[in-house]
Symmetry: C2
Subunit: 142 residues, 2 copies
DNA sequence: ATAGGGCTTCCCATCATGGGAAGGTCAAGG
DNA sequence: CCTTGACCTTCCCATGATGGGAAGCCCTAT
């Protein structure tokens, strides 16, 4: 099948399929006489794999490794597990960060009247000096 | 003070200060005779405001609005509150999404032996067909 | 044969950020 | 006074993943 059909069937846009090929995430597709990329069922499988992993938020780099493991029949499931759990840790870190921000904002918003008066603790907080960013004590590096 | 000092004092890199100026987020700095950008305490305040808001994960667009409100002595605190809570909702949505992914991965990892054998339910899941991506039923749009 | 749609490559834009080059400026020290 | 080195300026390029669009070739149905 051509790239358009493969795109529809895999949920990966034609643009992205070409991009994945260009950066070496997937092997160059075989070409028809006219130079059209031709995809097999197996190629589709790979595209769906990538699609799913992207949806899961795996960065391309990790997907490259996952794909390698997937293709490697002799892989060690421990490696896959480690990769997956590593991603979980990363997600948890990000979640905690966002949670903290959301909490702060919720608290600030709770103390903001939210009426037609201008005073607003939210703006007060944003404009207040928070921990000074890496204050270099005069000497530029010391 | 010059841009380097302002950068150090605000935690916003000189690069980004120039960028913010170029996209109109902050007013063009006044210039010295030699063309150097010169910053006042008030400019620093603005930069710190932006820094803090970025750290909170506010997108630039929303920061533009926040800055406007901050500068507007006649603002309506309700607007600020709405903006902040809107951001909270957005954060919550993202958190929920990531949580779902993390849960899925944790479950999959729990069923993966994680030993030197190749079988791995994580890879199985990634390569399985999940909900078909917007399957267009033959007619390209109908 | 012609139209239309699909395919190709190539370039550009995004968003926020950093890297780096080429060149001007300033302050300190010999 | 001149050199040195740190600073500043602008301009271009790159990122990562994605989309938009142009110019031009190809295929199929009418």
């Amino acid at each position: 099948m051509n790239i358009g059909e493969a795109a529809k069937a895999s949920g990966v846009s034609a643009k992205m399929i070409r991009y994945y090929e260009s950066v070496g995430l997937i092997d160059p597709a075989t070409r028809s006489e006219a130079g059209y990329r031709v995809y097999s069922e197996n190629d589709l499988h790979v595209l769906r794999f990538i699609k799913r992993a992207r949806t899961m938020g795996f960065p391309m780099e990790r997907i490259t490794v996952l794909l390698g493991l997937w293709r490697d029949g002799d892989r060690n499931s421990a490696e896959v597990k480690k990769l997956a759990l590593g991603h979980v840790v990363e997600l948890e870190r990000q979640i905690a960060e966002m949670q903290a921000v959301a909490d702060t904002l919720r608290k600030l918003a709770a103390t903001c009247h939210g009426d037609n008066r201008p005073h607003c603790p939210i703006l007060d907080d944003l404009s207040a000096e928070h921990e000074a960013p890496a204050r270099t004590p005069k000497r530029r590096r010391a």
